[in-house]
């Protein structure tokens, strides 16, 4: 029904420059969803599955968990779409549902981990990090530095995983998903100023943690 070209042109998917026609089209689309139109829901999944999966993968750090979670997010959206009143954009609401479910899953995984089951991927080996000192992503153009670059990636991934979910959430939504502060505010349910201060703290913590593990300042 909707191929890649259709998806790119879909008013619900298109970023920026929202017109009245787009809003009307989105409203009709939401009405179809609220009436439990299965084909409309198929369209919705096709439109958002990549974005939802990417967000969850960044939050959870595991592909299998992210895929399972993405399916669960869409099931919950199917159940709750009748309650969506259109106060925010549909995409913002979907992000909000995704983030909330993801944080619940992270708490569950953390509980399981604390009970003894290791749910995390093996972390980067400390010995290998010494060789990666002083390497930034800008330096990874040379093939002989690729391995070092890979090690930095592992350190950064590890540091992100160590961030508190509330900080990780704003960092990913702003710096990786490129959402506005207003959207962040709607998704997290926090005041605008709180979002900004939390984001600042998240960046500071991540930077400090990476620098501590790398042994020198980020250039």
């Amino acid at each position: 029904m909707a191929d890649r070209r259709d998806v790119a042109a879909h008013p619900v998917y298109r970023a920026g420059g929202v017109t009245d026609a787009d809003e009307q089209s989105e409203r009709k689309f939401i009405e179809r969803l609220a009436q439990r139109d299965e084909r409309a829901f198929n369209e919705l999944v096709e439109l958002y599955e990549a974005r939802v999966f990417r967000l969850l993968l960044r939050m959870l750090g595991r592909r299998d968990e992210a895929e399972d979670m993405a399916q669960e997010v869409f099931v919950q959206i199917f159940k709750a779409v009748g309650t969506f009143r259109g106060d925010s954009k549909l995409s913002t609401w979907i992000y909000r549902v995704s983030v909330n479910l993801c944080k619940n899953r992270m708490k569950y995984l953390a509980r399981r981990h604390s009970e003894g089951e290791d749910e995390l991927e093996p972390v980067a080996e400390r010995a290998a990090l010494d060789e990666a000192k002083g390497v930034t992503f800008g330096d990874v153009a040379q093939p002989d530095r690729l391995v070092e670059g890979y090690q930095i990636e592992r350190v950064v991934q590890q540091c992100i995983a160590e961030l508190d979910p509330d900080f990780r959430e704003v960092l990913i939504l702003r710096d990786l998903e490129d959402l506005s502060y207003e959207e962040l505010s709607e998704i997290t349910g926090l005041a605008d100023g709180t979002v900004k201060s939390r984001l600042h703290r998240a960046r500071s913590m991540l930077k400090a943690n990476v620098e501590r593990k790398m042994g020198e300042k980020i250039r």
Binding site: M1, V45, Q71, D192
Partner: protein, 120 residues
């Protein structure tokens, strides 16, 4: 609006950080590029539609996505067409095979039989 899985621990008006001074800083580009590099996608995202449809079908006990037709991405026009033609062909073949066996009805002549009276 009620959101599934809402995390009630973060109320906009009661967050402990709400009192902090909002210090909006533009992202440090090196940190941002480092993040993007570390969390870049290497594999394409999976197709979750089939899994979502299966979960909804199971949890709604078949109320939604009840059959194979409705779970298809596109209306299965070819399947409908092939099935119709196949059924038509079967009917024609059946008729052609069975019609010779069904001949015209043979007329039966019933001769009147004389009645014999039994004397007492």
């Amino acid at each position: 609006m009620s959101d599934p899985g809402t995390d009630s621990s973060h109320d906009a008006g009661h967050d402990v950080e709400g009192s902090e001074t909002a210090t909006a800083h533009e992202p440090e580009e090196s940190l941002r590029s480092m993040l993007r590099g570390a969390l870049r996608e290497e594999e394409p995202p999976p197709n979750v539609l089939a899994g979502v449809q299966k979960r909804i079908r199971e949890r709604s006990k078949g109320k939604f996505y009840a059959d194979g037709w409705s779970t298809a991405k596109h209306p299965p026009l070819n399947t409908y067409l092939v099935t119709s033609l196949l059924m038509l062909a079967i009917l024609i073949i059946s008729y052609a095979l069975l019609s010779p066996l069904v001949g015209s009805p043979v007329p039966v002549r019933n001769q009147p039989v004389p009645v014999q009276l039994i004397p007492h």
